[in-house]
């Protein structure tokens, strides 16, 4: 057997401080309270740094800084705002290796993904929206579309820097200023981004980063000085935010959970479908809101496809995320691991058949093997609830109509996959699916020019493309 020797990326390239304050008004400031928490490497449980958890007073200070910066930033010619964003994009490219390592250390995702997916997309997103800053009059929102003011943005832990880019780039391009709260388990790249803002000489207060958990986020979205709230995370929290914003004039966009169906028809390009299924659910350990967590396969090819899928899963390499050959990294936190375990146990208890490839699990850190459930019924929890982990539920169907019916039979509507070589069937299926993104003969592709967002309980508003501007303009 051809054993690949370990090929670890060097972590010397990153310089993590022992302790971080809050980034407010262009400066590192100490929080008013004493609330500090450790952020750990989920692959080793090693403490990486201590970060402040901002309280209401800290959030207020950040919103004030953003409010103060707004007149200057919004009045600046778009071409000048663009140049700041281009600068940021370039710095991200220049520091991409360092940022990829930092992301992997804090998040647990394989360095290959951080390096080849996250960071290129982060830079591309800033480049893309930089270009919009002086072209807003042509975006279809009126001759002189105005920014909203201060945007309060709360992002998740699965793609920390990429979600930051999705939030900050369009907000700034449109002339808003922002207060952003990274997820409590993955603050480090957001804090590194604060440094990048300084490096780019972005005017103070245009970007403010406040670290913390749910309470910090609640203080931010409920702050009266915030004009726009953008949230990516669970549907449960999205609901709370939507409710708490009732009666305010705050504009809200939400990118929430999903339970995407990946539909494989009998005439699919099967080898690529297998890759698409793997990429759909095991990319980023399945910590992906648009993950293809429900495989719907036509009964006539189910056995053949499952055999090929299992064979392919046998080649996945789980382990040290810093190894460039790792395919499956660590689960982001002990809490998330517990949730995945609880849901998979319910899958077994409800009668679905569980399978994982032979897969050694490291002694330390949070890990979960790639897992496939067959014999899953629509009524099982693992077919309905978002697991947000490397767990695939396999269901079968007989006709295209049944496939669509099952795919749409969920409160979510973020994404879906369709695999067929027949163009008319693809377009028919895509048109019937109630989901914001449909990948046909591919899965989990992202691009700054391509609008992303959900139907139904997967949220509202779009990120990316011209559509993504609407969330940050008074239209």
């Amino acid at each position: 057997m051809f054993e690949y020797a370990p090929a670890p990326e060097s972590r010397d390239i990153v310089d993590i401080r022992p302790s971080y304050g809050l980034f407010i008004g262009g400066e590192w400031v100490d929080p008013q309270g004493e609330d500090r928490h450790k952020t750990v490497n989920p692959a080793t449980e090693e403490v990486l740094a201590e970060v402040a958890w901002a309280g209401e007073a800290d959030v207020d200070r950040a919103v004030q800084a953003a409010t103060k910066a707004f007149p200057v930033w919004s009045a600046m010619p778009g071409a000048e705002r663009a140049k700041y964003l281009f600068r940021i994009a370039r710095i991200i490219q220049e520091r991409s290796r360092e940022l990829a390592v930092l992301e992997t250390l804090d998040n647990g995702k394989p360095i290959r993904e951080a390096r080849d997916v996250d960071l290129p997309l982060v830079a591309a997103h800033f480049f893309y929206y930089a270009g919009w800053a002086d072209k807003l009059a042509y975006a279809g929102f009126g001759e002189n579309p105005r920014p909203l003011g201060v945007a309060g943005q709360v992002i998740p832990w699965n793609f920390p820097l990429l979600m930051l880019a999705w939030k900050i780039a369009p907000a700034l391009a449109c002339g808003n200023t922002v207060v952003l709260k990274p997820a409590e388990t993955t603050p480090l790249t957001g804090l590194a981004f604060a440094e990048i803002c300084r490096q780019a000489e972005l005017p103070p207060g245009v970007v403010n980063i406040v670290t913390g958990a749910g309470e910090t986020g609640a203080a931010l979205v409920n702050h009266p000085g915030v004009d726009k709230v953008a949230f990516t995370g669970s549907t449960e929290v999205g609901r709370l935010i939507a409710r708490s914003l009732a009666g305010t004039s705050k504009k809200l966009t939400l990118e929430l959970g999903g339970k995407a169906a990946n539909i494989v028809f009998e005439d699919a390009p099967l080898d690529q479908a297998v890759e698409g299924i793997v990429n759909g659910i095991f990319f980023n350990q399945g910590h992906v809101c648009c993950a293809g967590s429900r495989l719907l396969v036509q009964e006539s090819v189910a056995a053949e496809l499952l055999e090929a899928l299992k064979r392919r899963l046998g080649t996945l390499r789980l382990g040290d995320p810093m190894d460039k050959n790792t395919d499956i990294g660590a689960i982001n936190s002990a809490e998330q691991l517990a949730r995945i375990r609880e849901l998979t146990e319910s899958g077994e208890a409800e009668g679905a058949e569980r399978w994982s490839p032979a897969c050694p699990i490291p002694d330390r850190g949070y890990w979960f093997p790639p897992t496939v459930f067959t014999g899953v019924a629509q009524s099982h929890r693992i077919a309905r609830e978002e697991i947000f982990g490397p767990v695939l539920s396999v269901l079968t169907f007989r006709t295209p109509a049944e496939a669509v019916e099952k795919a749409n039979n969920t409160p979510y509507g973020l994404s879906a996959g369709v695999w067929t070589e027949k163009g008319s069937l693809m377009l028919w299926t895509a048109s019937k699916l109630r989901a914001g993104v449909v990948w046909s003969n591919t899965f989990n592709r992202f691009d700054p020019t391509s609008p992303f967002g959900g139907y139904k309980e997967s949220g509202y508003g779009r990120e990316g493309g011209r559509h993504g501007l609407e969330a940050y303009l008074a239209v």
């Binding site: 051809f2 020797a5 005439d267 690529q272």
Partner: protein, 317 residues
């Protein structure tokens, strides 16, 4: 002649043009973008230290050292054979290559030069590279090459017939050539650069395998593009699936355009993760190349000495 299990399994398939066509067009399609992406991803595997040493020696042992020029002479072939047996005269630990590959008229020269070395002689045949001749000429050429001592025959398929949809003609030529080979191994060159689509590559692979190919090979080296990672991926999927269906194992040989150690290692990773480690052996995977060998030797020396190697220190044969 032994009837392979494969032939029994596909008995009816080649009984008429329409059954053969139905079978080949019934194979699952290949999505080009997805196949390209998978090959590119495997190309990012990072092979270092001990794994790289092992990979380099494995790759050397898989090389079909090739010269297929109009200007080939007995002298040129003898020099290449010497290199094949002892790739690095300064280092006896370097394994010999798998085979040398020459035109039919130079087979006897190569056989003589390689006598007792264990390095095999492969000959192209069937009016290589275009294949544009009659079946009689093609089988006669094959028989002559085998009679001259070739242990392996690299035939070309009739791409014109394939593209015209005359799959049965292609099939029958392969069957006839296989018969002409006798005990010699048959490698069937698909010339994937002319087949243009991955769907065609998959169909041609199956066509060759059910007709009795021992190896399927990408290219003559005379058409661009020659071997590519995704085309080889599609062919590796075919041999993997063919084994599962028939129990018969077929080898794969990418040829042409593989020049660097980095390229060669990418192919080995592709084999490892597609067909599986069982194919990581010269009996089942070959690299058709000429200049690749020196790059493998240079990388090998760099790993041994820690210094970058220079071309002046490796023989040009």
């Amino acid at each position: 002649m032994t009837t392979p299990l494969a032939a029994a399994k596909f008995d009816g398939v080649a009984s008429s043009p329409s059954t053969l066509r139905a079978f080949l067009h019934g194979l699952p399609g290949v999505d080009r973008v997805g196949a390209d992406a998978r090959a590119a991803m495997l190309g990012t595997r990072s092979i270092k230290t001990t794994a790289k040493k092992q990979a380099i020696d494995t790759a050397i042992a898989m090389v079909d050292l090739t010269t297929l020029e109009g200007a080939d002479t007995p002298g040129k072939v003898r020099a290449m054979c010497a290199k094949a047996v002892r790739p690095d005269p300064t280092d006896a630990s370097v394994p010999p290559v798998a085979a040398v590959c020459v035109y039919p008229d130079l087979v006897a020269t190569a056989v003589e030069a390689l006598a007792g070395s264990g390095v095999k002689v492969a000959s192209v045949a069937t009016s290589f590279p275009s294949g544009r001749s009659s079946l009689e000429v093609k089988t006669a050429e094959t028989r002559l090459a085998v009679a001259a001592g070739a242990a392996e025959i690299d035939m070309v398929i009739d791409r014109g017939a394939f593209l015209a949809g005359d799959y049965l003609k292609v099939y029958e030529e392969i069957v006839a050539t296989k018969e002409a080979c006798g005990e010699a191994h048959l490698k069937v060159i698909l010339e994937t650069g002319e087949l243009a689509t991955y769907d065609n590559v998959r169909r041609a692979s199956w066509l060759a395998m059910i007709a009795g190919a021992d190896f399927i090979k990408t290219s003559t080296g005379k058409v661009s593009p020659a071997a590519t990672l995704p085309v080889t991926l599609v062919m590796l999927e075919a041999v993997r699936d063919f084994l599962a269906v028939t129990g018969r194992k077929v080898g794969v040989k990418p040829a042409g355009g593989i020049r660097t150690t980095k390229d060669a290692i990418k192919y080995l990773v592709l084999v490892n993760e597609t067909a599986g480690p069982d194919w990581l052996h010269p009996d089942w995977f070959r690299l058709g190349a000429s200049s690749l060998l020196n790059d493998l030797l240079m990388q090998r020396q760099k790993m041994a000495t820690g210094r970058y190697a220079g071309p002046d220190y490796f023989t040009l044969d």
